[in-house]
């Protein structure tokens, strides 16, 4: 669904990684304009991956969007404080996700 929302609808080039660790390994070479992270992941979770990204010298200021199924305002607020550009809650609307992403890329 994410692939259709972003690649087919949005026309973006995507690389999928199966974990936070894999993402940290792939980002320097792929050099994305934006990273979308799940919050709950085995191994490094979303905020931990973001932290790892910022500590690296390359790709460190690439904007990050969290994708999460959590809806409680308190948890969303604490996620916001971690340094992500935005938080998108699941289920997301696949027809508008690309627009949201584009908004962040245009900033």
């Amino acid at each position: 669904m994410l692939e259709i929302a972003l690649a087919t609808v949005g026309g973006f080039d995507l690389q999928f990684c199966a974990s936070g660790e894999q993402a940290l390994g792939a980002i320097p070479e792929f050099a994305p304009d934006l990273v979308i992270l799940d919050v709950k992941m085995p191994g490094l979770n979303g905020p931990e991956t973001l932290d790892g990204l910022r500590k690296r010298s390359n790709g460190s200021d690439c904007p990050v969007i969290f994708l999460t199924a959590v809806a409680q305002p308190e948890i969303l607020e604490s996620l916001g404080g971690v340094g992500a550009a935005a938080i998108v809650t699941k289920p997301f609307d696949p027809m508008t996700l690309a627009d949201t992403v584009r908004e962040f890329l245009d900033r």
């Binding site: 669904m1 259709i4 929302a5 699941k90 289920p91 997301f92 696949p94």
Partner: protein, 249 residues
Amino acid sequence: MSDQTTDTFGDKTGLCARGVPVSPGNEIISFVSHEFRAPLGALMGALSIIESGVLGDLPPKMRPMLEMAQRNARRLLALSDDLIDADVIESGCLKLHLSPVDLSDVVRDCVSANRVIADRKGVAVEVAAIDRPVKVRADRKRLEQVLTNLLTNAIKFSEEGGTVDVAVVHEGQGARITVRDRGPGIPADLQPRIFQKFAKSDDGNHAGNGLGLYISKAFVEAQDGQIEFTSQPGDTRFVIVLPLSFTDE
């Protein structure tokens, strides 16, 4: 700068703050409702992708079937969300985020969000002119939910070509919101039960899960407000009164 407080409605023992319901909610209902959200989200996402045509043109004959599937998926999602709210209310763990809220702003947003539904049915929604901000101390998200509930009911029960009126006025120390429709009215035998769970009309034409008003009443009262109604054929009015906010944030 915002003045936000989190109030836990009905929490007399402080247990809720520690994540323990003060009275039994329905564990199974709550579990099932939460489990429904992800598959329903995927279902609705897939249907909207098909509808958009990005994967190929949709044969015209299929469109009504697709729309029916989407309507029913939305209905299930609404039911699932309402069950979750009803369970939170029942277990006394409702948490509100209160802040000064401009009522006229909320009314405008809700009316505009429901414009499409109203237009589709040929119902006009008229908002009486509000010349100044009317600030109440409320949880904006829950207030929007209540207003949306009243507005969609009013539209649902209006005839094609009918009008729904929304008005906001100051009344003493409070703000009064009235949502009025000119539909057939609430049946007399339903009126005493209208704010109870699962109260709905037997008329199969007006789909609803019977939880909206139960939830709305709980949200309004948790914000120190009141909700009342009067109804006869041709004139049904739901009125919410909320205390005004006098802080300047």
